[in-house]
C-alpha cells in the first residue's frame, strides 16, 4: 500500500472537511470569538477604568460646601504636598490629579455610595483653618482605596513640609533624615498582554481541539464507522496522523480566530495601550512568534487530547476524560499570570507549564535560549509520545469492546476464586493508594506538628509504620480479598532457591551506598527541593534517631517498609501487571510507580528521591522476576533500608573506617569500590541461579 504525502493530505482533508462542516465546530470557531471578546473587553474596560487608577480627569473628591472645596483644592495644589522626587518616581513618576467637587444633591457619602465620586471628604474648618479632614472611601473599590491612600499621603507630605519648615525656623540646626527609595530585581513586564496571551492560547487551543478530537476518534465508534475504517488496508497510525493533522488545524484556526478577534477588540477599544504599556505595538515579528507558539500549543494539545479520546468508547466517555484535563491545564496557564516564575530548572521540561512560560518570555521579549530550546524539544517529545499512545489505542479491539463491568461489580466479591488480580483492579488500587497515602501522611505530619515537640520518637516511628500498613498494606489486601484472588499467587509468596536470597543480600550490601550517593549528588546539583527549614527539621529527626534503640529503628524503618512495599509493588502490582505486560515492562511499570510513591511525602514533592528509588525498584523487580517470588526482594529491601538507617545513626562511629560523612557527605572511594563489587557479585549469583519457572496449573486455580 502506497503511503504518499498526497494521500495523507487527502485523508486529512476529509477529516478536516467533516469537522469544519459540523455546526458544533462553527460555534467554537466563529461564534465564540465574535461574541466573547467584545463582551470581555467591555467588562475589562469597565474594570480597568474603575479600578486601575484615576479616570481621565483624575480622582473625584466630593465635599459638601464651597468653602471645603476651596480649602481642599488649595491643599492639594500646594507644591509642598508633592512627595520627594525619588518616591514619586518609585510609584510611576506621575502626580495624581484630584478634582474636588461640591456635591449638589444629598451628602458626599450618598454620592460616593451612588458611585458618582471616588472619595468623599469632610473638612472641619474653625478660625479660618481646617482642623480635621475626614476622608471616606468606598470599601472594596480599588480606585476609591487608591484615591484615599494618595490623598492622605499628599496631606501628610504637606504637614511634614510645614512642620519641618517651622522646626528649622525655631531650631536652625535641626535636620531630619531623608527617606529615599530604590528597587532591585527584574522588574516584571508591565505588559499585561504577555501574561494574558498564553492563557488565551491555552484556553483557545483546547477549546478548538476538544470537539474534533472527540468526534474524530470516539465519534467514529459512536457513528459505527470505526470497524469499516479498521478493516481498510491503511495502518492505524496513518489514519491517526490524518486525524491529528485535522485536529491541529482546527485548534490553530480557533486560536487564530480568537487571537484575531482579541486584538481587533483591543485595538478598537483602545485597551492595547492600557494592557501592553505605552508605545507597545505588535510588530510582524511578534505576530510570527505568536503563530509559532500557537503551532506548538496546538500540536501538544491535539496529541494529548487524541490519546485520551482514542481510549474512550463513546462521546460521553471522552468528554468525561477531557473535562478534568481541561481544568488541570488551567493551573499552568494561571501560573503565567504570576510574577517570579521563569523558564529554568525542572520547569523548562514541565509539560504545558514550559510552553506557557515560554510564551510569556517571548511576548515580554525576555527569552532564555537554553530554557526555550528545552521547552520546545520536550514539548515535541511529549506530543510524539502522546500520539504514539493514541495510535496504539485508536481502534484497539479491547477498546472497541464494551466492558460488562459496572462500578457496582468492583465492590461485589466474585463467586469463583481466581489466581491473580487484573490490571483494571490494580489501576483501582493505585488510584486509591495515591489519595490514601496523601491523606494519611499529611494527617500524620499535621498531628505531629500540633503536638508539643516532646512526642516520643519511638511512638512517631511506630505511627509511621502503622500508616504504611494502613495504606500500602491494607488497600491491596482488601482488593485481593474482595477480588477473591489466591493470596499466595497474588502476593507471589512462593518459595524460591537459596541462591536468590544470597544474591539479594550481597546486592543490598552494596546498593545502599549508591542510594546514598544518588541523594548526595541530587542535593549537589540542586535537584533537592527541600527548603532550609525542612532540611533543618530532617536533621533534627536524624538527631532524634540517635537516641532510640536500633531495633526500633530497624523494625519501623526497614522491616515494615520492606515487607509492606514489597508485597504491594513486587507482589500485588507485579502479578497484576504481568497479566498483560512483558516481564521487562512489568519491572519498569512497578519500579516507576515505586519511585513516584516515594516522591510524595506529606505535601512536599521530594523529586530527588525518584531516580534512586526507581533504580532500586528496577533491581527489586528484576530479582522478583528471576526468583518468581517476593521473599528475596523483601530481604534485599530490608538490608538496603537497614544499612542506610544504621549509617545515618552511627556515622560518627564509622570514622575509623575512613568515612568522614559529616564533612564531605560523599562516601570514601574505597567504600564505593567495595559496594560496587558487592553489587556485581550479587547480580552474578542471581544470574547464575536457575530461575524458578512460574507455573500456574489449572488445578491450582
Amino acid at each position: 500500500m502506497n503511503l504518499s504525502w498526497s494521500r495523507l493530505a487527502r485523508l486529512s482533508r476529509k477529516e478536516l472537511r467533516e469537522t469544519l462542516r459540523d455546526r458544533r465546530t462553527i460555534i467554537t470557531l466563529v461564534m465564540m470569538p465574535l461574541l466573547v471578546y467584545p463582551l470581555l473587553s467591555m467588562a475589562l474596560n469597565r474594570f480597568l477604568l474603575s479600578s486601575a487608577g484615576p479616570g481621565t480627569s483624575g480622582f473625584v473628591v466630593g465635599v459638601e460646601t464651597v468653602d471645603e472645596s476651596n480649602w481642599l483644592q488649595s491643599l492639594i495644589n500646594d507644591p509642598r504636598s508633592k512627595p520627594p522626587e525619588a518616591i514619586l518616581q518609585a510609584s510611576g513618576g506621575d502626580l495624581a490629579e484630584f478634582k474636588v467637587v461640591v456635591v449638589q444633591d444629598g451628602t458626599p457619602e450618598q454620592a460616593l455610595l451612588a458611585n458618582r465620586l471616588d472619595i468623599a471628604a469632610e473638612l472641619l474648618i474653625a478660625e479660618g483653618e481646617p482642623q480635621t479632614i475626614n476622608v471616606t472611601a468606598f470599601s472594596g473599590d480599588q480606585a476609591s482605596q487608591s484615591a484615599r491612600r494618595i490623598l492622605i499621603e499628599r496631606l501628610h507630605w504637606l504637614k511634614l513640609q510645614d512642620t519641618t519648615n517651622i522646626l528649622q525656623r525655631v531650631v536652625p540646626e535641626f535636620s531630619s533624615f531623608q527617606v529615599t527609595t530604590s528597587e532591585i530585581g527584574e522588574r516584571p513586564s508591565g505588559n499585561v498582554l504577555a501574561s494574558i496571551i498564553p492563557l488565551v492560547l491555552v484556553l483557545m487551543t483546547i477549546t478548538g481541539a476538544v470537539y474534533p478530537a472527540i468526534d474524530l476518534t470516539a465519534g467514529e465508534r459512536e457513528r459505527g464507522t470505526m470497524e469499516a475504517l479498521m478493516a481498510s488496508p491503511v495502518p492505524r497510525w496513518w489514519l491517526l496522523l490524518a486525524k491529528y493533522i485535522a485536529v491541529v488545524c482546527v485548534a490553530l484556526l480557533t486560536a487564530v480566530a480568537n487571537l484575531g478577534a482579541m486584538f481587533a477588540t483591543l485595538s478598537l477599544t483602545g485597551l492595547t495601550q492600557m494592557l501592553a504599556g505605552e508605545g507597545a505595538e505588535l510588530g510582524v515579528k511578534e505576530i510570527v512568534l505568536i503563530f509559532l507558539l500557537l503551532v506548538l500549543f496546538s500540536a501538544f494539545f491535539a496529541a494529548v487530547l487524541l490519546s485520551l479520546t482514542s481510549f474512550a468508547r463513546s462521546f460521553k466517555e471522552a468528554q468525561a476524560y477531557l473535562i478534568p484535563v481541561m481544568l488541570l491545564s488551567l493551573a499552568p496557564a494561571m501560573l503565567s499570570l504570576m510574577p517570579g516564575i521563569g523558564l529554568n530548572g525542572p520547569l523548562a521540561v514541565a509539560p504545558l507549564l514550559n510552553i506557557v512560560l515560554l510564551a510569556r518570555e517571548i511576548l515580554a521579549n525576555n527569552v532564555h535560549p537554553l530554557g526555550a530550546t528545552l521547552a520546545v524539544a520536550s514539548t515535541i517529545l511529549y506530543a510524539t509520545a502522546a500520539l504514539a499512545v493514541a495510535a496504539k489505542l485508536f481502534g484497539n479491539d479491547a477498546v472497541n469492546r464494551t466492558s460488562e463491568r459496572s462500578i457496582g461489580s468492583l465492590f461485589r466479591r466474585p463467586e469463583v476464586a481466581t489466581t491473580r488480580p487484573s490490571v483494571g483492579e490494580a489501576g483501582m488500587v493505585i488510584a486509591l493508594l495515591l489519595p490514601a497515602s496523601f491523606v494519611v501522611s499529611n494527617g500524620l505530619m499535621r498531628w505531629l506538628a500540633s503536638q508539643s515537640s516532646d512526642v516520643n520518637v519511638t511512638f512517631q516511628l511506630a505511627l509511621n509504620a502503622v500508616a504504611l500498613v494502613a495504606t500500602f498494606g491494607l488497600i491491596p489486601f482488601a482488593a485481593t480479598y474482595l477480588g477473591r484472588h489466591r493470596m499466595t499467587l497474588t502476593y507471589r509468596m512462593q518459595s524460591t532457591r537459596v541462591g536468590f536470597y544470597l544474591g539479594a543480600a550481597i546486592i543490598a550490601l552494596g546498593a545502599w551506598a549508591f542510594a546514598h550517593e544518588a541523594l548526595v549528588l541530587a542535593d549537589e546539583f540542586g535537584l533537592a527541593l527541600l527548603n532550609e527549614e525542612q532540611m533543618e527539621r530532617t536533621r533534627g529527626v536524624l538527631d532524634k534517631w540517635k537516641t532510640i534503640s536500633p531495633f526500633v529503628l530497624l523494625a519501623t524503618m526497614a522491616v515494615a517498609p520492606a515487607v509492606i512495599e514489597e508485597l504491594c509493588f513486587r507482589g500485588y502490582l507485579f502479578s497484576a501487571f504481568s497479566n498483560v505486560l512483558s516481564p521487562w515492562q512489568t519491572i519498569m511499570a512497578t519500579a516507576v510507580l515505586f519511585g513516584l510513591f516515594h516522591v510524595f511525602v506529606g505535601s512536599t514533592l521530594l523529586v530527588e528521591r525518584f531516580l534512586p528509588t526507581t533504580l532500586l525498584g528496577i533491581a527489586l523487580g528484576w530479582l522478583a522476576y528471576r526468583s518468581g517470588s517476593v521473599w528475596p526482594g523483601i530481604l534485599m529491601h530490608f538490608l538496603h533500608n537497614g544499612l542506610l538507617e544504621l549509617v545515618a545513626r552511627y556515622h560518627e562511629h564509622l570514622a575509623f573506617l575512613g568515612a568522614e560523612l559529616e564533612d564531605s557527605r560523599h562516601l570514601p572511594p574505597l567504600w564505593l569500590a567495595i559496594a560496587g563489587a558487592c553489587v556485581l557479585v550479587g547480580v552474578g549469583i542471581v544470574v547464575w541461579t536457575r530461575p524458578r519457572v512460574e507455573t500456574v496449573s489449572a488445578e491450582s486455580v
Binding site: 485523508l11 472537511r17 469537522t19 478493516a231 488496508p233 472497541n400 469463583v416
Partner: protein, 251 residues
C-alpha cells in the same frame, strides 16, 4: 478465494479464559455464498474480525486470494470487502465524498474510483443520493450506500456480518438482490447470520457454529443427511438443547 485454517481465538474475561473460536476451518470459492451460521455468541463475528485483521488469532491463519493475512495484512485487507448491519456513515460528508474516501483508503486511484462509483451507484440505485449529505439519508438509503461502500474497491471476497439485522422487508430484499449480484459477478461471499430461514434461501454452502466450533459443514443436503433433520432450525434446536433431542428422538 478465501481459505481459513484452524483459526482459534481465546479471550480472557473476568480472569477466565473463553475459547471464542476453536480450530475453525473452511474455504469459499469464487461465485460461492457461504453461510456462517450460529446463535449469538457462537463465534461468527470473532471469525470475521480475525479474517478482517481486527483481531489476531491465537492459532491458525487466513488466506485471502492467496495472501496470508498474518504475512501481508494490508494486501489481504485490500482484497476484502466488509459490510455490517452496524455500519454508520459520516453525517457531514456527501455520499460521494464518503465513498471516494473509502476508495482512497483501499488505494483505488481517484479516477478509477469515480468510474467505479458511477457503475455501482446505478446498480444499487443511489445515483440521486450521491451529492446529498450522508446524515440526511433514510435507513434504507443508508443501507444501500453502505453496500456500495463494501464494493467500491472491487474486492474478490465479500464479508457480510448480520446484513439484514434491523431491516424491514424492502431492506431485506435489497440484501438478497445484492448477494445475488455478488454471486453473479464472481465474488466469494461469507454471510454471517442467525436468521436461518434467510440463510437457506441465500447460501450455497453452510458452516454451523456452536460455542466456537464447527458442528456441521457442507451444502444443505449434506447437512440434512448428516444430521437427519430437514431444516437448519431443527438442527440448531438440537445443538442448543441436546437433552430435548434425546427425549424427542424416540417419538
Amino acid at each position: 478465494m478465501l481459505q481459513i485454517h484452524a483459526l482459534t481465538k481465546r479471550f480472557v474475561a473476568e480472569n477466565e479464559v473463553v475459547c471464542a473460536v476453536d480450530g475453525l476451518s473452511f474455504s469459499v470459492g469464487p461465485g460461492e455464498v457461504f453461510g456462517l451460521l450460529g446463535p449469538n455468541g457462537a463465534g461468527k463475528t470473532t471469525t470475521l474480525r480475525m479474517v478482517l485483521g481486527l483481531v489476531s488469532p491465537d492459532e491458525g491463519y487466513t488466506e485471502v486470494a492467496g495472501i496470508r493475512t498474518s504475512i501481508n495484512p494490508f494486501a489481504a485487507k485490500a482484497k476484502l470487502g466488509f459490510v455490517s448491519a452496524s455500519d454508520g456513515v459520516y453525517p457531514w460528508l456527501s455520499v460521494r465524498e464518503m465513498l471516494l474516501y473509502f476508495a482512497d483508503l483501499y488505494g483505488v486511484q481517484p479516477d478509477a474510483a469515480a468510474e467505479r462509483l458511477t457503475i455501482l451507484a446505478e446498480v444499487m440505485d443511489i445515483e440521486r443520493l450521491l451529492d446529498r449529505r450522508a446524515g440526511t439519508l433514510s435507513t434504507g438509503q443508508r443501507q444501500r450506500v453502505t453496500l456500495v461502500r463494501g464494493l467500491i474497491h472491487d474486492p474478490p471476497v465479500m464479508l457480510l456480518d448480520e446484513p439484514t439485522r434491523g431491516l424491514d422487508v424492502v431492506g431485506v430484499q435489497t440484501i438478497f438482490r445484492y448477494i445475488a449480484h455478488l454471486r453473479e459477478v464472481g465474488k466469494a461471499v461469507v454471510v454471517c447470520t442467525h436468521r436461518l430461514d434467510e440463510a437457506e434461501r441465500l447460501c450455497d454452502r453452510f458452516g454451523l457454529l456452536h460455542r466456537g466450533r464447527m458442528r456441521y459443514h457442507g451444502t444443505l443436503n449434506e447437512i440434512r443427511t448428516e444430521s437427519g433433520r430437514q431444516h437448519l432450525v431443527e438442527i440448531f434446536d438440537d445443538l442448543m438443547n441436546p437433552v430435548s433431542h434425546v427425549v424427542e428422538t424416540p417419538t
